[in-house]
């Protein structure tokens, strides 16, 4: 029965697909048309008098963190533009976005990950996103790398990032002190500390083995610490992923598994259970993103944070822009002039400060005031390194996605000790399409 339903669905999509195929050229040809009409009406002019409703999709995976700030952001927007009603739903994850793309039923606005993944580029290529360049957004506050995040082939497609994401080790200061430990300054000290904790019957690091992204944060943190130079070289085509430091980095993750640093049965743990184990003092640390900071602060524990040092004691951390406020407009939106107001608002200090006050991210723009001292601790490092996912995305083609192979194939196999670090590096090397030198 289900198969039949799915088949019917497939047939229906066949019809939709054809329409889309014919209509593919339309957005690109109609975009300049709508663009030529809107700069004629300058951006400062108030939008049309009639009330319109914009459908906006928020990040379902981070609803817990984003619900409060976006409620405030949308309220502030409503006060500014009473004629524009925002219907904000935490409805978007990879799957719902894919279904919306296949059915050509995108909401007016939805969040995108810029140049961090290949997705936005693919959507632009297929004519799904509205080119924002003709609207002459005020980008004077932003640096070139922030603009590059939103740019595909010289055109801007989303609201700009204003915060910085990285991964840190959140640790329980009480448990560390009870075992005579402090935040480590070298890799070996870090590993010895884990051994001490394990001997004391505490899970050294809790890991959400069931959650595709959360179980990958150790790899995100190890990658720049072990193999920053090698990954950079691979991205430009001057090196390869078979570089021994990449294998060593993957092997370090597997060693943690084999030595039991992630605790018993971490494979069956989801993200909530891992967080619970940490805030409940059953585990001494969790490797997570800076975006989850407020969750741990609110638990009321004696919280500390450190970046993982490499063997030489240097802290090279992965760095990428936060996609919490980067939204794009669907090319099929019926109200592009109103949607652009929302983009402008997300680009404003007012909205960014609301997010900062609620979540406590590391701002990349000087006029945003950091929430508290804890936020500063998130940014203690010596060098901003690569984001392994972005590197692999750059090495991906539509035929072979090396980034997804890391997430869905290599990491699960390392977690179950099915492959070694060297085998994992070889798999990635096979999947990667290196640029010509």
């Amino acid at each position: 029965m289900l198969a039949l339903l799915a088949m019917t669905g497939a047939v229906l999509q066949g019809c939709g697909g054809n329409d889309n195929g014919n209509g593919n050229a339309a957005p690109s040809s109609s975009a300049p048309a709508s663009a030529s009409s809107s700069p004629g009406a300058p951006a400062s002019e108030s939008p049309s008098e009639e009330a319109v409703t914009l459908k906006v999709w928020g990040d379902l995976g981070n609803q817990a963190v984003l619900e409060e700030p976006f409620k405030k952001i949308n309220a502030a927007f409503a006060a500014k533009y009473p004629n524009i009603k925002i219907e904000y739903d935490f409805a978007q994850n990879d799957q719902s976005l894919n279904v919306a793309l296949q059915a050509n039923e995108l909401p007016d606005l939805f969040w995108v990950q810029g140049d961090k993944t290949s997705k936005m580029g693919e959507m632009v290529k297929n004519g799904f996103l509205l080119d924002l360049t003709p609207y002459n957004l005020d980008l004077s506050r932003y640096s070139d790398s922030e603009k590059a995040y939103c740019t595909i082939d010289g055109k801007i497609y989303c609201s700009l990032p204003s915060f910085f994401d990285t991964n840190v080790v959140y640790y329980n200061k009480d448990l560390y002190e009870q075992n005579g430990l402090k935040a480590p300054s070298t890799w070996d000290e870090f590993v010895q500390g884990l051994e001490t904790l394990k001997a004391a019957g505490v899970t050294p690091i809790t890991l959400a083995g069931k959650s595709e992204w959360d179980r990958a944060w150790p790899i995100f943190a190890f990658a720049p610490a072990f193999s920053n130079a090698a990954l950079k070289a691979a991205q430009t085509g001057e090196g390869k992923l078979t570089d021994p430091s990449v294998a060593e980095m993957l092997q370090a993750f597997r060693d943690f598994v084999d030595k039991g640093y992630f605790g018993k049965d971490f494979l069956a743990q989801d993200y909530a259970a891992a967080q619970f184990a940490f805030t409940n003092s059953k585990a001494a640390a969790i490797i997570d993103g800076t975006w989850a900071n407020s969750t741990y602060v609110e638990s009321g524990m004696n919280l500390g944070r450190f970046s993982i040092p490499n063997k030489e004691g240097k802290k090279v951390v992965q760095s990428s822009y936060s996609n919490f406020m980067t939204y794009a407009i669907s090319s099929k939106s019926a109200h592009p002039d109103q949607a652009i107001k929302y983009i402008e608002f997300l680009n404003s200090l007012e909205a960014q400060q609301i997010l900062e006050d609620a979540v406590g991210l590391v701002p990349t723009i000087k006029d945003i005031v950091a929430k508290d001292e804890g936020v500063k601790e998130l940014a203690v490092f010596d060098e901003a390194g690569v984001n392994v996912y972005s590197v692999l995305t750059a090495l991906s083609t539509p035929e072979s996605n090396a980034a997804d192979i890391l997430m869905k194939d290599v990491i699960p196999k390392l977690m179950t000790s099915a492959i070694t670090g060297a085998e994992g590096a070889a798999t990635l090397d096979k999947a990667a399409a290196y640029p010509a030198k």
Partner: protein, 306 residues
């Protein structure tokens, strides 16, 4: 025309036949037609003949996922056929023989059927979860604290956890079917057996079971179709990837993953051929079910003729 006039019943068949063709037969052939193309679901299609079938069985990663999913579906079928089905028969016979409170038990055993799958899985979570589960608390209470584990999602137990929930929720359905069939047995026959002095179990094996054989065979094929098309439990427990090591993966989930989910890690050309390969898997699933169903029908009818 004369041919139709001689067969007026054809007019009665027509509406059903038309609807059935439109909504069942046409989609099957249409899906088969898509499966002959290389298609990502959005862009243009390219005809590749049986290339998708060759890739499904030739690509090592795809084939291992196919066999893994099929093995799990098969495991579910065998467990249901060998453990649940006899239990259903036994319970139906108990109710049939009118044990005390049989109406109450009948309603209770059938009741889980009224609960939606996500709720059943949630109830399963309340029992088996590592942190809040009752089962772990029970183990601790009887002094087996070191045995506590996060039962949901342990790769080595994956499909068996799925089976426990499936069995609990579905056990009443087969039982009702069997009970209905047992009630069709002429009472004279049972009375005669009683007078002849046949024991409780003798009556079951020599009279009841042979009388309801067709129902049992039908139930067996329904169990098979269920196992091959089951999707919801695995999807809720393991997500689109089918859990760690694909430990709860089943055929329908495999189809969904390739057609609609993230499939880029499969390797090969899956990103640009999601729909083509998805429908290919759907057609293979159809064939796997169809062959067994036909075989079962043939066997049942041959027995009647003898």
């Amino acid at each position: 025309m004369a041919w139709i006039k001689k067969r007026p019943y054809l007019w009665f068949i027509l509406p059903g036949f038309a609807l059935y063709s439109l909504f069942t037969v046409y989609p099957i052939f249409s899906a088969f037609q898509i499966s002959l193309n290389r298609w990502d679901g959005i862009g243009p299609k390219t005809f590749v003949g049986l290339g998708n079938y060759a890739e499904l069985f030739g690509n090592q990663e795809l084939f291992s996922q196919l066999t893994g999913a099929f093995r799990h579906s098969g495991t579910l079928f065998l467990l249901n056929a060998l453990a649940v089905l006899p239990a259903q028969l036994y319970m139906a016979y108990l109710l049939y023989s009118g044990i005390r409170g049989h109406r109450f038990f009948q309603a209770m055993i059938f009741a889980p059927q009224f609960i939606a799958t996500p709720v059943i899985v949630f109830m399963g979570t309340l029992i088996f979860d590592g942190n809040i589960g009752v089962f772990n608390k029970l183990l601790e209470a009887v002094g087996l604290g070191e045995w506590t584990r996060p039962w949901l999602g342990l790769p080595e137990l994956g499909i068996f956890i799925v089976w426990i929930m499936v069995a609990w929720s579905g056990i009443g359905v087969g039982m009702i079917f069997f009970l209905g069939a047992m009630k069709m047995i002429p009472t004279e026959m049972m009375e005669a057996a009683l007078l002849e002095g046949a024991s409780y179990w003798r009556r079951f094996f020599s009279i009841v079971l042979p009388q309801i054989k067709t129902t049992v065979l039908n139930m067996l094929i329904l169990t098979y179709i269920f196992a091959m098309t089951m999707f919801d439990f695995s999807f809720i427990l393991g997500g689109v990837s089918g859990g760690i090591n694909r430990s709860v993966d089943v055929m329908a989930l495999f189809f969904y993953r390739i057609a609609f989910g993230d499939n880029s890690a499969v390797g090969g050309s899956m990103n640009v051929n999601a729909m083509g390969m998805g429908t290919t898997i759907a057609c293979v699933m159809f064939a796997v079910i169809f062959v067994v169903a036909v075989a079962q029908v043939v066997i049942t009818y041959r027995r009647k003729e003898v």
